[in-house]
Amino acid sequence: MGVITTFEQFLVRILQILFWLLLLIPMILTPIILLILPYFDISSLYPLVPFKERVDYNQFLKFLMDPTLVFPYLGDWMKTDFFKVVIFPGFTFAALFSGVIITWWERKFLSKVHNRYGPVYAGKFGGILQSIADLFKLLFKEIIIPERVDKLFFFMAPMGTLAISGALLALIPLGPSTYIARSNLSLLLIFAVLGFYPIVVLLASWASANKFSFIGGLRSLHQLVSYEIPLLLSVLGIVIMAGSLDLIRIVEAQVSLWFLIPQFLGAIVFIIATLAELERIPFDLPEADTEIVAGWLTEYSGMLFAIIQLAAYLKFYALSALFTVLFLGGWHGPIFLPPEAWTIIKVFLVMSFLMLIRGSMPRIRIDQLIRIGWVWLITIALINLFIALFIYSMGVKF
């Protein structure tokens, strides 16, 4: 499939690309369409677009003469659910931030730890287009479907990982009003969504019909199941202190003091459990390349692999953002930057810290991992819970 020489091949390839584009790009293209739509008669499209009143052509000409008049409409549009889900705190922003910037930054940052440069030549500035190049390559790469795989689950599993990671984004607020969904139970919902991940991984590994995939899937299952409990326990202290499961309420409770300070042990447990949930070094056992090739990713190639990677980085972003919201005071910061910017800066720093751990730690073994999870982390998380109860019983209100 290297060089496309015939028209049939070209058609097949274009169809394939269309499929992937349909999956990913609408989130970028639709906003542009929606920007233009208000200028036309759109009464039939009322359920889709924000503007309930009819926009006439005179209005359109006025906009052409003075583009600044668009801004109030733009502001209105940015408040719609569609924009939120698809563009700003939602998928497009998260995918671009984690899939393009963070992947590039991870390689550059770790390279600096290693005393070298990392990507340089792709893109003019420090190889900034490296991840785009990887994406283009994977878009046009053959997808190998081994003979014995279970095709349905083999294809569904990457989409499943992407869906789970995307769903996590909905519940995490970046600013006081920049969130997609608000619920009284949003913290609990996040854990509920995370709970689907091991199932998808196990399905993927089983469908791959490969011994290494299977071992990787089993490892992943063990790891994810045993680290969800300390992850949940570590945030209970915050729930007690903030008195709510609502993430926005939790951030608002941190106006005076970040929960990092009273809940330091909880933060440590949360970071360790997060690393395990993300399958990153020192807990990257399901993808441990020197032991089991690429773990449950072994049989995935081309765009399926890219989707899984994108999902992994979205999850990385989502859990880092969760840490920011829970422990680092969310959007609180000096007034000279908008609140969303503070959240993103904090998320970026948290992600950099997790990368630093990747640069300085080896991988640990599965039995040690489970032991750490069930014995140490749960104990520390319980101690942390008692600290929170103690502070609460002292009558300290956040």
Binding site: M1, G2, V3, I4, T5, T6, F7, F10, R107, S111, H114, N115, R116, Y117, G118, P119, V120, Y121, A122, G127, L129, Q130, I132, A133, D134, L135, F136, K137, L138, L139, F140, K141, E142, I143, I144, E287, D289, V293, A294, G295, L297, T298, E299, Y300, S301, G302, F305
Partner: protein, 176 residues
């Protein structure tokens, strides 16, 4: 008349579809060459050095030896291929997804090198798989490996990833 029309059409397609798309695809491919982890012999030590901080092949988007070969595009044959390794090498090449490139690193992979008269060594891997770039040396310096990677990038850049125009010309003009 028809011939002229088809000729013009193919030219337009070449200009509008083939060239820009080829450029974009090739740009992605040439900065994202992931090598398969296949160590056939001793040159792998110098390939490791090539990924070390000093020569840092990741500057060109070449990752250090990658986990699964399903995700790789570049097969670097590090030196000697013995008769025991030969079927495995062929198998690995067949398992890689298209498009794939092969670099023969070291004298043994090119022609057998020192082991030209050994009873167990395949004299040159181009007898079983196609090779894009040859790197002489025993083992080559990491700079030579980097140079070979740049050469391969140049080769990919010149390669046409999509060639609809010429296909149309070939198919319809001959008939007409």
């Amino acid at each position: 008349m028809m011939g002229v029309l088809v000729g013009k059409l193919s030219e337009v397609i070449e200009k509008v579809v083939d060239e820009p798309l080829s450029y974009v695809i090739n740009w992605g491919r040439l900065y994202s060459l992931w090598p398969v982890h296949l160590e056939t012999a001793c040159c792998s030590a110098e390939f490791g050095a090539c990924h070390g901080p000093r020569f840092d092949a990741e500057r060109f988007g070449v990752l250090e030896a990658f986990g699964s070969l399903r995700q790789c595009d570049l097969l670097i044959v590090f030196g000697t291929v013995t008769r025991k390794m030969m079927p495995r090498l062929k198998l690995i090449y067949d398992q890689m997804p298209e498009p794939k490139y092969v670099i023969a690193m070291g004298a043994c992979a090119i022609d057998g090198g020192l082991y030209f008269d050994s009873y167990n060594v395949l004299p040159g891997i181009d007898k079983i798989i196609p090779v894009d770039v040859y790197i002489p040396g025993c083992p080559p310096r990491p700079e030579a490996v980097v140079q070979a990677i740049m050469m391969l990038q140049e080769k990919i850049r010149r390669n046409k990833a999509i060639a609809i125009g010429s296909w149309i010309r070939k198919k319809f003009l001959k008939k007409g």
